[in-house]
C-alpha cells in the first residue's frame, strides 16, 4: 500500500479541522465566563451550565427527550425483534416488500413525516400529546432498531437453538433462554442507535411538540430563533456529552464502525 504524500496529509488535516471546528466551538463557548458569546480566554467557568438550572423549560425538555427516546426505542424493539427474526429466517412471498416498507422511514423526508403525523394525530384527537410523540418516534427509529437486530439474527449460530429444541425447549422458553441472549448485543445496539436518533430528531418533532411536550432539540431550536447566547451552547454541550455516552455504549457492545458502516447502504 502506498503512503499518503504531504499534500494529502495537509488536505486531511484541514478537512478534519473543518469537520470538528463547529462542534469544538460550541463546547468551548459553553465554558465562557463572559455574559456574551466568546471563547473562554480569561479562564473557564461553569456559569452557563449553572444557568441551565434557572431555565426550567430546558430541564423539562430534557426529561421529555430522555423518556421519549428510551420508551420509543423500547417499543420499536418490541415490534422489530419478531419482524427481524422472520425476515432473517424465512424466505416468504412479500419478504422484500416488507423489508422495504420497514426501512422506508429512512427515505421519507422527516418534514413530510412531521406533517403527516400532525394531520393524523390532530384528527385522532391526540394533537400535541406525549403518546403521539411516542408513536411517531417509534416509526422513525424502527429502521435502526430493525437493521441491527436483523444483522444479529442473520449472523446467529442456529445449532445452539436446535440443541435446545432437542432438549425439549420450545416457544417462549426457547426465545427467552436461547435466542434472545444470542442476539442481545444487536438488540442493545439497536436500542442505543434508536435512542440517539430519537433524542436528536428535530425536523419531525417540531411539528408534533406542544408546550409541555417540547423535546430538547425543539426547545433549543425555538430558543435559537429568538437569540443566540452562551446558554444554548452549554445546553448543546450537554446534548453532545449525552450522545457521546450513547456512542461509547454502542462501541462497547457492537463496534461503532459496524454501526456507522451499516448506515450508508439504506437501500436507496
Amino acid at each position: 500500500m502506498r503512503r499518503n504524500g504531504p499534500l494529502a496529509l495537509i488536505f486531511h488535516t484541514i478537512f478534519v479541522i473543518i469537520m470538528l471546528a463547529p462542534i469544538l466551538v460550541v463546547c468551548l463557548v459553553a465554558f465562557t465566563p463572559e455574559g456574551y458569546l466568546s471563547l473562554p480566554t480569561n479562564g473557564f467557568s461553569l456559569r452557563w451550565f449553572r444557568a441551565i438550572a434557572n431555565y426550567p423549560e430546558f430541564i423539562h425538555a430534557f426529561w421529555v427527550s430522555l423518556g421519549l427516546g428510551a420508551l420509543s426505542s423500547l417499543v420499536a424493539l418490541l415490534f422489530a425483534v419478531p419482524a427481524a427474526l422472520a425476515i432473517a429466517r424465512y424466505r416468504f412471498r412479500g419478504r422484500d416488500a416488507l423489508a422495504a416498507l420497514f426501512l422506508s422511514p429512512l427515505m421519507i423526508p422527516h418534514v413530510v413525516l412531521g406533517i403527516a403525523f400532525l394531520r393524523f394525530f390532530t384528527s385522532a384527537g391526540l394533537g400535541g400529546s406525549f403518546a403521539a410523540l411516542i408513536i411517531a418516534h417509534v416509526i422513525i427509529v424502527f429502521p435502526f432498531a430493525l437493521r441491527l437486530t436483523l444483522a444479529a439474527a442473520t449472523g446467529m449460530d442456529r445449532t445452539v437453538e436446535m440443541a435446545a429444541v432437542s432438549l425439549g425447549a420450545g416457544g417462549w422458553t426457547l426465545f427467552r433462554r436461547v435466542t434472545l441472549p444470542l442476539i442481545l448485543p444487536g438488540v442493545i445496539s439497536g436500542w442505543a442507535l434508536a435512542f440517539i436518533q430519537s433524542f436528536d430528531d428535530l425536523t419531525m418533532t417540531v411539528f408534533l411538540a406542544a408546550p409541555g411536550t417540547e423535546t430538547l432539540p425543539v426547545r433549543m431550536f425555538l430558543y435559537i430563533q429568538d437569540n443566540i447566547d452562551p446558554l444554548v451552547t452549554s445546553v448543546s454541550a450537554c446534548v453532545i456529552a449525552i450522545t457521546m455516552s450513547a456512542l461509547i455504549l454502542l462501541d462497547r457492545f457492537y463496534g461503532l464502525d459496524r454501526v456507522l458502516a451499516g448506515k450508508g447502504d439504506t437501500g436507496r
Binding site: 470538528l20 418534514v111 403525523f117 461503532l256 458502516a261 447502504d265
Partner: protein
C-alpha cells in the same frame, strides 16, 4: 416432519411480522395518504379547512412564481451541497483508506461520529463562527484588520450550502469509503509498474472504480439536503426559505395546512422521482459493479 415445518414456515413469518405491519399501515401509510388528500382540501382565513376536492393549492403552486423560485432555491442548494461534499469527501475517503490501521479507524470515527451529534448543535457551531459581527472568525479577522465587515454567512445561500455540506459530509465519506473497500490495491501497483504516473492512476484507475460510491453518496446527500429543515431554518432564518421551512411556516404560522401539505407532497414525489430515477441510471451505467 417436512409437512409440519412447511406449514409452520408458511404462517410463522406473517405471524411474526404482523404487529409491525399493522403499525406501519396504521400510523405511516394512512397518515401519508391523509396528507396527500389534505393537499386537495380548501382553506380560508376564517372558515379553516374544508374537506372538498379542489385543485386550488396545486394551482397556486403552479401559478405563483414565488413557489417556483423557492423550489429552485431548494434544489440549487441541494445540488451545490452535493457537489461540495463530493469534491471534498471523495479525496478524503481515498486518503483515509490509505492510512494504516489504527489511524484509519481513529479518523473514520472522528469524521463519521458527528453524524450522530445533534444537527442543531452542529449548525449552531457555524452560527457561532460566522454569525454577523459576533461571529468568532469574523471578530478575529476584523480585529486583525483583514477585513472591515463580517463575511456574509448568516441568511445567505453560501452559508446554508457550507453548513449543510458539513452536516452531510459523513454520508459522502462513508459511501466512497465503502466503494474503496471493493477496490483491489494491486491494480494500483499494476498500473504503476506499467509506468502510469499518480495523476493517470487517479484519473484512469481510481476514479472510474469509486464513481458508483460517489454517485450513491450523492443521491443520499442530495435527497437529505433538499428536505433538510434545521440547518436552513437556523442559517436562512425567515428570509431565505426552502421547501421544508416553507411547509413548516404554512403549518405552524399561517395555519394554511392544505397549502403546506401540497408543498410537502410535491417535495416527496419530486425526491422519490429523482432518487429512483438516478438509482436506475447508475445501476444501468455501472451494472458490472453491482453484480
Amino acid at each position: 416432519m417436512s409437512g409440519v415445518a412447511e406449514e409452520r414456515g408458511a404462517r410463522a413469518p406473517w405471524a411474526l411480522t404482523a404487529p409491525a405491519l399493522m403499525l406501519f399501515v396504521g400510523v405511516l401509510l394512512i397518515p401519508l395518504a391523509m396528507t396527500v388528500m389534505l393537499s386537495f382540501h380548501d382553506w380560508g382565513q376564517y372558515k379553516g379547512i374544508e374537506p372538498v376536492f379542489i385543485l386550488k393549492n396545486w394551482y397556486e403552486i403552479a401559478a405563483d412564481p414565488y413557489y417556483a423560485e423557492m423550489f429552485w432555491r431548494t434544489f440549487r442548494i441541494a445540488i451545490l451541497t452535493t457537489l461540495l461534499t463530493a469534491l471534498l469527501g471523495a479525496p478524503e475517503a481515498y486518503i483515509l483508506n490509505r492510512m494504516s490501521g489504527r489511524w484509519k479507524s481513529f479518523f473514520l470515527l472522528v469524521i463519521l461520529g458527528p453524524l450522530l451529534i445533534s444537527v442543531v448543535a452542529r449548525t449552531l457551531g457555524w452560527a457561532l463562527l460566522f454569525g454577523g459581527n459576533n461571529g468568532l472568525v469574523n471578530k478575529l479577522l476584523m480585529s486583525l484588520g483583514v477585513m472591515r465587515s463580517p463575511i456574509p454567512f448568516m441568511f445567505t445561500e453560501t452559508g446554508m450550502v457550507v453548513a449543510l455540506a458539513h452536516v452531510m459530509m459523513p454520508f459522502m465519506v462513508l459511501s466512497v469509503w465503502a466503494a474503496l473497500q471493493r477496490l483491489d490495491p494491486q491494480i494500483e501497483n499494476a498500473a504503476m509498474s506499467l509506468g502510469a504516473g499518480p495523476v493517470t492512476i487517479i484519473r484512469r484507475i481510481i476514479m472510474p472504480q469509486i464513481m458508483p460510491g460517489v454517485l450513491s453518496g450523492a443521491i443520499i446527500v442530495f435527497s437529505l439536503s433538499a428536505s433538510a429543515f434545521a440547518t436552513p431554518a437556523i442559517i436562512g432564518g425567515r428570509r431565505l426559505k426552502v421547501a421544508a421551512t416553507l411547509a413548516y411556516d404554512e403549518f405552524l404560522n399561517t395555519l394554511n395546512w392544505p397549502l403546506g401539505a401540497a408543498v410537502a407532497t410535491l417535495l416527496l414525489f419530486a425526491l422519490v422521482l429523482i432518487v429512483v430515477g438516478s438509482n436506475a441510471l447508475i445501476e444501468r451505467r455501472y451494472a458490472e459493479v453491482f453484480r
